[in-house]
Amino acid sequence: MEYVIEMLGIRKQFGDFVANDNITLQLKKGEIHALLGENGAGKSTLMNVLFGLYQPEAGTIRVRGKEVKITDPNVANKLGIGMVHQHFMLVENFTVTENIILGSEPTKMGTINIKDAAKKVQALSEKYNLNVDPYAKIEDISVGMQQRVEILKTLYRGADILIFDEPTASLTPQEITELMQIMKRLIEEGKSIILITHKLKEIMEVSDRVTVIRKGQGIGTVVTAESSPTQLAELMVGRQVVFKTEKIAPNPKEIVLQIDSLTVADNRGVDKVKNLNLTVRAGEIVGIAGIDGNGQSELIEAITGLRKVKNGKITLNGKEITNLKPRKITESGVGHIPQDRHKHGLVLDFPLGHNIALQTYYKQPISKNGVINYKKVNEIARNIIEQYDVRSGEGVMSITRSLSGGNQQKAIIGREVERNPDLLIAALPTRGLDVGAIEFIHRRLIEQRDNGKAVLLISFELDEVMNVSDEIAVIYDGYIIDTVKPQETTENELGLLMAGQSLQENTKEGGQHE
């Protein structure tokens, strides 16, 4: 079998930090080759070396058997290597075609020949079943469609080796299935694919072989069909991974959070939470399952005071907290791991230490008479960084933006859990994280529960809700359609509930709700 790409003994160093150490990756023609590793293991570095963004300190790269030096992305493009970035590089108010030709516009007598380009885009789109309208504006199309534009961009430039960098991170389950089909179609047409991911499910489904790297070291390459998710997870993390987190039976006590007929509107004034009732007790984890956009965000924002409540009542430990200021609510014992860590959870341009003090900077012992004791800030932060294994370049002084997503999330979780709140709200706490980090976070949530605290978990992942919760409340169209126990239900049943079919009605005659 011939190799289209061989990266042999690649080493890349940043200062004293070795990001890639003696990594070998060989891509066969016509295969989907997964590159698996934890957040910060060095996957992106390796691909940036292949794409010419970094120069390796050691090792050789061969493309179709010939040794090459890839000094910049243009060289990579010429060699037929194309990258579909995790964060799309598209101009929002340009059309699909304009975006695709950007940087290599075909010209006719000094003007851009957009018609020909559009035809070419159309043809490519049809060939690979991408279903993209060449004249649509980027801002008007879905995230999944934007990703296809990125794929088209590489194809238009003549790539036959495609690198997908965490392509499913921002896609819906439906879009993920479609992407898998597109990848298979690309292979049929003779392309080769490197898929960077830490999602084992996708690897098992679509890849032919897997190369695993761990902390910058190449661990080895296995054939997917001869492997299992458990084996891959072990290779990636370097120890046994428990997919199902062990936990003792819950011991629910007094009610901590009580929500009575809550109604909340979104920014446009449309009711997103409708007459919702929910109870969370001390010593239990209540998981809210549901498809994105069924009122979860509005519900959390209402509890934490970030959004005004239109109607209804929220009480914490028997005291009403409806429409109080966020700080008042935080101080009455609520911890909040926000859904969007970049938007709400962190000030990305602050040093890590500052961010760990984000909820406590104004209080003793950190501050006194309006003056902050940064020694104390960093002392507390170092403690949390160590306990929660937050990895960063320069410890408390690292600019938070420079940390990987998983480490940013661990910092937030450390900050919120260490305040020891009576109610911990965890919204999508493991989004975008690898199995090792997920396991860690789940264990922390269960620990809080075992310490007699109430935990409210919001997640779009069924596995997570089933695994961690003691009770599952399914949210649909702004209200809790049903409450079930994880051991008494199935994924199938939950799926039906999440789609809005109440179980009783379903067994009767499948009648529609409302």
Binding site: L306, P326, P338, H344, L348, Q359, V371, I372
Partner: protein
């Protein structure tokens, strides 16, 4: 190349490049660049008088630079330093001449009035931004023009129809015989000490207080600040007000020190606008602003000497000074060039 060598080389090369290009401009225009630079040097350092004047010139730049830098650090773009400075100038001049009080009360009161007037003028864009999301750049630009005309009208009222207000009383003046005598009767005044205090104050406020923490957090990320329980609107207004207070104090330096009064303005003073460049030169750090202001003030004051001593017209002087500042500000380009150069050399080896 080691990091330290780069750090020393960058500013050095920038200044030399600026001087060389400035020399070419002078030579092409038919003037002797050496004479020109000697005149510039003399205009800054020749004797105790010029040095006194140079320091005097630096003082208001420190304040306008701090005002712009403070706004930047808290996520705001205050283009209205000019107007806030004029209002501060007017307020200080009025308090200085309208009351008769002991110095220990009068001088602080005049300074306070200047800070308050600048703060008030900055409150308007701050309030509009916080409550109605009106962009502060538009409001502050327009308020610069408003400030000039409002000040001119009020000068007329205060002076009973005159072109300028009366001199401030001795009790409100920053002037000191001691300093003047020491510098051969330049207009050097105590304002420089107030300015140095302001530098330390800004550093302390931003880097050591909870208020500074909040202001920076709101500037970087409003959503996260709200999540952390901060009052975002209050902090936006406060950031603008503090920035304006710095600007107002800059005006007080002119009102109580340099001129001891205020005259009707035909155009902007330029100090506020130069503050933007000073802030950027200083990377929005208080001590950086101090260095930026020293550079700006020294070149400005030294340049005044070039027409008289070397016969170079003021237009050419402005170009030369602008070039020097331009090259210092573009140190980044030189840094990149040096790193490329160092890399190539390493590869060749």
């Amino acid at each position: 190349m080691s990091k330290r060598a780069v750090n020393i080389l960058v500013p050095l090369i920038s200044i030399i490049l600026g001087l060389v290009i400035g020399a070419i401009v002078m030579a092409v225009s038919g003037f002797n660049p050496i004479d020109g630079y000697v005149a510039l040097w003399n205009g800054i350092f020749m004797d105790s008088y010029t040095m006194g004047e140079t320091i005097r010139q630096i003082t208001p730049y420190i304040f306008s630079g701090l005002a712009v830098a403070f706004a930047f650090r808290t996520g705001l773009f205050n283009i209205g330093v000019e107007g806030q400075l004029i209002m501060g100038w007017l307020a200080a001049a009025w308090v200085g001449q309208a009351f008769e009080l002991p110095k220990i009360i009068h001088l602080p009161l005049a300074l306070l009035a200047a800070a308050a007037a600048g703060a008030l003028w900055a409150f308007i864009p701050g309030f509009l931004k916080a409550k109605l999301q009106v962009h502060e750049v538009i409001v502050t630009i327009m308020l610069n023009y408003t400030a000039i005309h409002v000040a001119n009208a009020l000068i007329g009222v205060i002076s009973g129809g005159g072109e300028r207000t009366d001199k401030v009383h001795e009790s409100a003046s920053l002037r000191a015989h001691y300093l003047e005598a020491m510098t051969d009767y330049s207009r050097l005044h105590w304002g420089i000490l107030v300015a140095l205090l302001a530098v330390v104050f800004m550093w302390f406020l931003l880097e050591r207080t909870t208020l500074g923490y909040e202001l920076k957090a709101v500037g970087f990320n409003k959503n996260a600040s709200e999540y952390a329980g901060m009052n975002v609107k209050k902090n936006i207004i406060l950031a603008m007000v503090i920035s304006g207070a710095f600007a107002g104090l800059g005006g007080a330096m002119e009102a109580l020190g340099t001129f001891e009064n205020i005259s009707k303005l035909h155009a902007a003073t330029g100090i506020g606008f130069d503050g933007i460049a000073v802030a950027l030169l200083g990377a929005n750090q208080p001590f950086g602003v101090l260095l930026g202001a020293i550079l700006f003030g020294a070149l400005k004051n030294g340049g005044l000497n070039m027409p008289s001593e070397a016969g170079i017209p003021t237009e050419i002087v402005s170009i030369v000074i602008a070039l020097i500042i331009f090259f210092i500000a573009s140190g980044y380009i030189i840094r990149v060039a040096l790193e490329r150069f160092g890399k190539k050399r390493k590869e060749e080896k």
